[in-house]
C-alpha cells in the first residue's frame, strides 16, 4: 500500500474552477471525511466539501476514479471547487490532516508513469516538466538562499539540531559525564522554536497571499453605490453608474494593487426579487462570484440603520456603509468589520483598503516571506511535531520527545535538506567528550 498524495491541480490564482486531486489508497477515507460519502465511480456528483460534521469549506463537483482505471493508476479523488486560492488551500489543508501528504512537483504524473499509464514519449515530456518545475524550485531556492526566509528556516533547523544533540546524547550516551539539559531548559527551547515556526508559517502564508492576491466581490441591494465603489477603487470609470436601480446586469471585473497586494474586484448585480430574465441571470452570476470570492464587500446605504448582509455567507464579509455624505456622518473605519464611505468623493476608501490588507494578512514587504505552499505544509508539520514534543516532555517520555524532534527536523529538512543520523552523531562527538 502506498502513500496517498494530494495537491491543487490547477495553477494558483486564476481560473473559474480549481481542482484538488488526491491519489492513493486513502481516497475513499478522504471522500468519507470531506463529503460524507464516497461518490459513485466516474460520475460527477455535486457535494459540499466540509470538515466532518462541521464548517463547509467549499462546494462543487466530486469525482471518484477507483484504481486502476484512473490517471495515476491508483484510486483518485478529484474535487472541483470554486477555485478561490484560499478556499482551495483550506480544502487541501484539511485533507492533509488525514493520512495524506502533499504531492511533490510532478508526482501524480510520476505515479502514472510508474504504473505504466504513460508511454515513453509522454514520460520524456514529464521528465522535462519536472526538471523545469524542479529547476524553477531550485532557482527559487537559490533566490531565497540569500533571503530572509531561508535564513530563518536554517536557523530553526540549527536550533532543532542543537536540542537534538542534547536529547540524543542523553539517550545514547546516558552514562557519560555530559551536562545534560534540564527539563526546564528543554521546555523553554521547545517553546521558543514553536513560536518561531508559527511566525514563519504566518509570514509565509501572508507572502503566498501577496503572490496570489485576493478575490473580492462587491455585493448588496440595488442602487447602493456598488459600481461607484468599483470605479472609485479602480480609479477609472469601468462600470456604468446611473440612479436607476438594476443598472448593473452582468459581473464586471477590475484589478488593482494595494501596496503590492494584488486584488481582483468583481462588481455584481444588485440582489433583489425580479421577474426580468436578464436581471435574474445577472444575479445568478453574482451569486457564483460570491461563492468563489475570498472576501465580500457588502454595500449598504448609510441611512439604512438595520442593513446587514445575509447570514449564509461563509466568506469573510466587510460592511461598507456608503453615501455617508447624505447622512453627514464621518467616513472611516467603524471598528469590527464596518466602514463608512462616500463613493462619489472617495472618502473612507483609504481605511477600506487597509481593511482589505488585513483580510489578506498583509505584511510589509520585508515582513512577508515568499513562501511556497510546499514549504508552508512542511512548516505546519514541523509545528505539530514541536507541540507534540513539548507535550511528551511534560509527560517525561524521553524517547517520544526525541521522536517528535526527529520528525520536526525531517520536516525542516524538506526545505533546507535532510540531516542524517550520521551528521547528528558527528555533531554529538564534536560537542561532547564521549567515550571510554
Amino acid at each position: 500500500m502506498s502513500e496517498t498524495i494530494c495537491a491543487v491541480a490547477t495553477p494558483p490564482g486564476r481560473g473559474g474552477i480549481g481542482i484538488v486531486r488526491v491519489s492513493g489508497p486513502a481516497c475513499r477515507d478522504v471522500a468519507q471525511a470531506l463529503l460524507g460519502f464516497v461518490p459513485s465511480p466516474r460520475i460527477a456528483t455535486l457535494a459540499d466539501f466540509r470538515v466532518i460534521d462541521g464548517e463547509v469549506l467549499d462546494s462543487g463537483i466530486a469525482l471518484y476514479f477507483p484504481a486502476p482505471a484512473s490517471y495515476t493508476g491508483e484510486d483518485v479523488l478529484e474535487l472541483q471547487g470554486h477555485g478561490s486560492p484560499i478556499a482551495l488551500d483550506r480544502v487541501v489543508s484539511y485533507i492533509l490532516e488525514q493520512d495524506v501528504r502533499l504531492a511533490n512537483p510532478g508526482e501524480f504524473t510520476e505515479r502514472a508513469f510508474r504504473n505504466d499509464k504513460l508511454d515513453l514519449a509522454q514520460a520524456e515530456a514529464v521528465a522535462d516538466l519536472i526538471a523545469s518545475a524542479s529547476a524553477e524550485a531550485a532557482r527559487a531556492a537559490t533566490r531565497s538562499l540569500s533571503g530572509e526566509f531561508s535564513r530563518r528556516v536554517r536557523e530553526l533547523d540549527q536550533s532543532v539540531l542543537t536540542l537534538r544533540i542534547y536529547i540524543e546524547s542523553a539517550i545514547d550516551f546516558a552514562e557519560e559525564e555530559i551536562d545534560f539539559l534540564g527539563d526546564r531548559e528543554q521546555h523553554d527551547q521547545l517553546a521558543a522554536m514553536e513560536g518561531l515556526v508559527k511566525e514563519l508559517i504566518e509570514r509565509s502564508t501572508a507572502g503566498l497571499t501577496m503572490q496570489i492576491g485576493l478575490d473580492v466581490a462587491i455585493a448588496g441591494d440595488p442602487n447602493v453605490g456598488k459600481s461607484s465603489l468599483l470605479n472609485q477603487l479602480l480609479g477609472e470609470d469601468r462600470a456604468i453608474v446611473t440612479s436607476t436601480a438594476g443598472t448593473t446586469r452582468d459581473t464586471l471585473h477590475g484589478e488593482l494593487s494595494i501596496d503590492g497586494l494584488p486584488v481582483r474586484l468583481t462588481d455584481t448585480a444588485g440582489l433583489r426579487l425580479s421577474e426580468d430574465p436578464i436581471e435574474v441571470l445577472g444575479m445568478k452570476r453574482a451569486e457564483a462570484a460570491l461563492e468563489k470570492a475570498d472576501c465580500v464587500l457588502w454595500v449598504v446605504e448609510d441611512a439604512d440603520e438595520n442593513a446587514a448582509p445575509p447570514e449564509e455567507y461563509r466568506v469573510k464579509t466587510l460592511i461598507v456603509r456608503n453615501k455617508c455624505d447624505l447622512t453627514g456622518s464621518r467616513p472611516g473605519f467603524l471598528g469590527e468589520e464596518s466602514f463608512r464611505t462616500c463613493a462619489l468623493t472617495g472618502a473612507g476608501l483609504a481605511e477600506l483598503r487597509e481593511g482589505l490588507k488585513r483580510v489578506a494578512g498583509f505584511r510589509t514587504g520585508s515582513d512577508a516571506f515568499a513562501g511556497r505552499p510546499r514549504h508552508i505544509t512542511s512548516l505546519k508539520r514541523a509545528h505539530g511535531a514541536l507541540l507534540n514534543a513539548a507535550r511528551e516532555l511534560s509527560a517525561r517520555q524521553g524517547e517520544l520527545v526525541a521522536e517528535n524532534l526527529r520528525v520536526a527536523h525531517d520536516c525542516l529538512g524538506e526545505i533546507v535538506g535532510v540531516t542524517t543520523s550520521d551528521d547528528l552523531l558527528g555533531e554529538i562527538f564534536a560537542t561532547f567528550c564521549i567515550g571510554k
Binding site: I415, V418, T420, L425
Partner: protein
C-alpha cells in the same frame, strides 16, 4: 596436502563474528568448519569485559531471537548487570552485563563444541584459491588445503595488525596473539578495497594494589535484568560491584607533556580511530577545558584480581602510563599488569559487499566483523550470524536473507555499512535507527523468531518457549480489545480508583489503556488479568500507547520501501540532471546510490530532488510498455 573432507562453509576466525557465523551456518544444516588460530581463544573478548549497552544490547537480543549464542553466554558469564535508560522509555532501554572473561569464553566454546554439523580445526589460514572469480579453497600455514563451497572471513583486528606502545611497535593481532600477515598480503592482491583503522585499549591493573575505599562503588541493578529470552537469574554466577574514579589535572599534565611520544600524535598511526572511543590523550587534547574524566573500574572476572579501567585507553609509553595511572584516586600504588596499546589493522570498504555480506567481486567469499570496519563484539556477532546464514543459503542455492531497517538493528547495521561505508570504526547507536520506537529489546523475538524459525536458525525448544510467550501476549491483547468498561460498573470504579483516570462513558479497555496514567499493575489489580500476566501487559501496553507513532512510522516505512524498489542505474548521469543543486549532484556522483531509497538517505536530499531522480531513473531505463 588436502584436508580429508570438503565443507559447505568454512569460517575463518573464532572471534564473535566467526562463532555466530559458524553456528548459524551449522544450524541451518550446512556442513561447517570453524578454522581458527587458537582454539583456546574462541569467544575471547579482546578488549573490555562487557556485553551489551545502549544500542548494542538491542543487537544481542536480536541475535538471541535468531538462535545465536551471545546472549545466553552473557547470562552464564555475567557478574554485574545493569538496565540503562530505564526512565527514558522502552525503546531505548538497554541491558549491559560485565562478563567474566573466562566464564564467557567457556560458555561460547561449549556451544560451539556441542553444535551439530560444526567441526573445529586449529591452524592459520594464509592463502586462498579462486576458480575464475569464485573461492574454492583455503590453505593453512601447515600447507593443508581445505575445500569449501563458501568461505566466511572474520579475522578481526589480525590482518596486518600492528601494536603500538609509545615509540615501540610490533606486529600482532591483539596482545598475546600473532597477526595475520600472509593473508593480509594475499587479500591485497585481490579486487577488494583495503584500508587501515585503529583502536586502542587501556592498561590492566592489579586489583590487590588498588585502594577501593577511595572509589565509589557501583553495584548492579535490582531487579537484575537478564540478557537472553531464554535466560534466567539462576543462570547468573556470583554478582560483584564496579567502581568509579576520575582522572585529574595532574594526570592530564603528565599526558600532555608526553604527547610527542604518542604514536597517534607523531603520525606513526595512519588508521582512523573511533571518535566515541577516544584515547585518554585524545580527550585531554580535544577537551582541554575538562579537568577530569570518568573511569569505570570493571572486574575482569571472579577468579582474578585484574581490573579493566574503562576510560583511559592509551598508546603512550609504558613509563608514562605508569606515572599517569598513579595520579588517579585509589590508584596511587597501582600495579599495571598489561600496558595499554593501540592497534592498527586492515579493513575492507564494506561498500564492496552485498547486503548478504558476500563480496561483490569474489563469489562465495563473505566478510563479517571488524574487517568490515565495525567495532564491538555485538556488531561483529550480528554480522557473523547474517554472513554464516547467507553463506549456507548460497551453497544450498537459496536466496539471501537480510532484515530491513524497520525490522531489526541488524538491518540498520548492514544497510549503513554497505551503503555509507566506514570512515571510522562503526558502532551501533539507537539514534542510527529511524524506526527506533519499534526496534525494542522487549519485542526482538516477536520481530525475528518466526522468520528465524522458517530459516532454520531457531531450534525447536527455543521456538516452543517463544510461542508460549507469544500466545499469552495474544490473549492479553484480545482481552484488552474485547473488554468493555461500562459506565458506573464495578470494573469502571476499580479502574478509576487504581489509576485516578475518570470514566464518563462506556469505553473499551484498550482505549482506556491508551491513557497516560494507566499501567500494567492497574489492570491486574482491577481483576481483569491475573498477576502473572503483568509482564505480558507491560509489553502489550507499550504497543497500545505507541500506536499513533507506530502507525505514522508504517507510512514512512512504506514510502521507503517504494523508494527502495526504484533502482538507479549504475551509469546514471547525475551531472546531467537539470534542476539538482550542485552540492547534491556532487554527492550523488560520489556515492552513486543504487536505489532511490539510498539516495533519500544522502545528507541534504530534498523531496523535489528525489522525484527528479525517480523519473530520470525510469527514463534512463528506456524500454517501457505503454498503457
Amino acid at each position: 596436502m588436502k584436508y580429508p573432507t570438503a565443507f559447505d562453509v568454512i569460517v575463518i576466525g573464532g572471534g564473535h563474528a566467526g562463532v555466530e557465523a559458524a553456528l548459524a551456518s551449522a544450524r541451518v544444516g550446512a556442513s561447517t568448519l570453524l578454522l581458527t588460530q587458537a582454539i583456546e581463544t574462541i569467544g575471547q573478548m579482546s578488549c573490555n569485559p562487557a556485553i551489551g549497552g545502549i544500542g548494542k544490547s538491542h543487537l544481542v537480543r536480536e541475535i538471541d531471537a535468531l538462535g545465536g549464542a551471545m546472549a545466553i553466554a552473557a547470562d552464564q558469564a555475567g557478574i554485574h548487570f545493569r538496565t540503562l535508560n530505564n526512565s527514558k522509555g522502552p525503546a531505548v532501554r538497554a541491558t549491559r552485563a560485565q562478563a567474566d572473561r573466562v566464564l564467557y569464553r567457556n560458555a561460547i566454546r561449549q556451544v560451539v563444541e556441542r553444535q551439530a554439523n560444526l567441526t573445529v580445526y586449529q591452524d592459520m589460514m594464509i592463502d586462498l584459491t579462486l576458480k575464475s572469480d569464485r573461492i574454492v579453497s583455503v590453505t593453512t600455514r601447515l600447507g593443508t588445503e581445505i575445500e569449501g563451497a563458501a568461505v566466511v572471513l572474520t579475522t578481526g583486528t589480525f590482518l596486518g595488525g600492528r601494536i603500538f606502545v609509545g615509540k615501540q611497535q610490533h606486529s600482532g593481532g591483539r596482545a598475546g596473539d600473532p597477526a595475520s600477515l600472509e593473508l593480509s598480503e594475499k587479500l591485497r592482491t585481490l579486487p577488494l578495497a583495503a584500508g587501515r583503522l585503529k583502536t586502542g585499549t587501556p592498561p590492566r591493573i592489579d586489583g590487590s594494589t588498588v585502594d577501593f575505599s577511595k572509589l565509589e562503588a557501583q553495584p548492579g541493578d535490582e531487579p537484575r535484568p537478564v540478557m537472553s529470552f531464554l535466560g534466567s537469574r539462576d543462570m547468573h554466577p556470583q554478582q560483584v560491584s564496579c567502581h568509579i574514579t576520575h582522572t585529574n589535572a595532574e594526570t592530564h599534565e603528565i599526558i600532555r607533556r608526553a604527547l610527542d611520544q604518542s604514536p597517534m600524535f607523531t603520525g606513526e598511526i595512519e588508521g582512523v580511530g573511533p571518535r566515541y572511543c577516544p584515547s585518554i590523550e585524545d580527550k585531554v587534547v580535544r577537551f582541554a577545558e575538562r579537568d577530569q574524566h570518568q573511569i569505570f573500574v570493571e572486574p575482569e572476572g571472579l577468579q582474578t584480581t585484574e581490573l579493566y579501567p574503562n576510560g583511559i585507553s592509551t598508546s603512550l609509553p609504558f613509563d608514562v602510563q605508569h606515572e599517569a595511572v598513579r595520579t588517579i584516586r585509589g590508584f596511587e600504588n597501582a600495579h599495571i599488569t598489561r600496558p595499554g596499546y593501540a592497534i592498527e589493522y586492515d579493513f575492507f570498504d564494506p561498500r564492496g559487499l552485498m547486503p548478504s555480506l558476500e563480496t561483490k567481486n569474489i563469489e562465495n567469499l563473505f566478510f563479517a566483523g571488524q574487517i568490515n570496519g565495525t567495532t564491538g563484539y555485538e556488531e561483529a556477532a550480528a554480522q557473523g550470524l547474517v554472513a554464516g546464514l547467507n553463506a549456507a543459503r548460497k551453497v544450498a542455492g537459496q536466496t539471501a536473507w537480510v532484515p530491513q531497517r524497520h525490522e531489526a538493528y541488524i538491518g540498520v547495521l548492514i544497510d549503513d555499512l554497505t551503503t555509507m561505508g566506514a570512515n571510522e570504526p562503526y558502532r551501533m547507536f539507537t539514534s542510527r535507527a529511524e524506526y527506533r520506537l519499534r526496534l525494542r529489546q522487549d519485542n526482538a523475538d516477536l520481530r525475528l523468531t518466526p522468520v528465524g524459525r522458517e530459516l532454520g536458525l531457531v531450534p525447536e525448544d527455543r521456538f516452543n518457549v517463544f510461542t508460549a510467550r507469544r500466545d499469552r501476549l495474544d490473549v492479553c491483547n484480545k482481552v484488552l480489545a474485547r473488554t468493555t468498561v461500562h459506565l458506573n460498573s464495578d470494573l469502571a470504579n476499580k479502574l478509576s480508583n487504581e489509576t485516578g483516570e475518570g470514566i464518563s462513558k462506556d469505553v473499551s479497555l484498550l482505549d482506556f489503556a491508551k491513557r497516560p496514567g494507566v499501567r500494567a499493575e492497574h489492570l491486574t489489580a482491577s481483576g481483569v488479568f491475573s498477576d502473572k500476566d503483568e509482564a505480558f501487559l507491560v509489553q502489550a501496553l507499550i504497543d497500545v500507547k505507541y500506536d499513533g507513532y507506530l502507525r505514522r512510522q508504517d507510512q514512512a516505512i512504506e514510502r521507503s520501501r517504494e523508494q527502495m524498489g526504484v533502482r538507479l542505474p549504475g551509469d546514471m548521469d547525475f551531472a546531467g540532471i537539470d534542476g539538482l543543486s550542485n552540492e547534491l549532484r556532487e554527492k550523488l556522483e560520489n556515492i552513486r546510490p543504487s536505489t532511490l531509497g539510498r539516495a533519500a538517505s544522502i545528507p541534504g536530499m530534498t523531496p523535489a530532488a528525489l522525484s527528479l531522480l525517480s523519473v530520470h531513473a525510469k527514463r534512463h531505463s528506456g524500454i517501457r510498455k505503454t498503457a
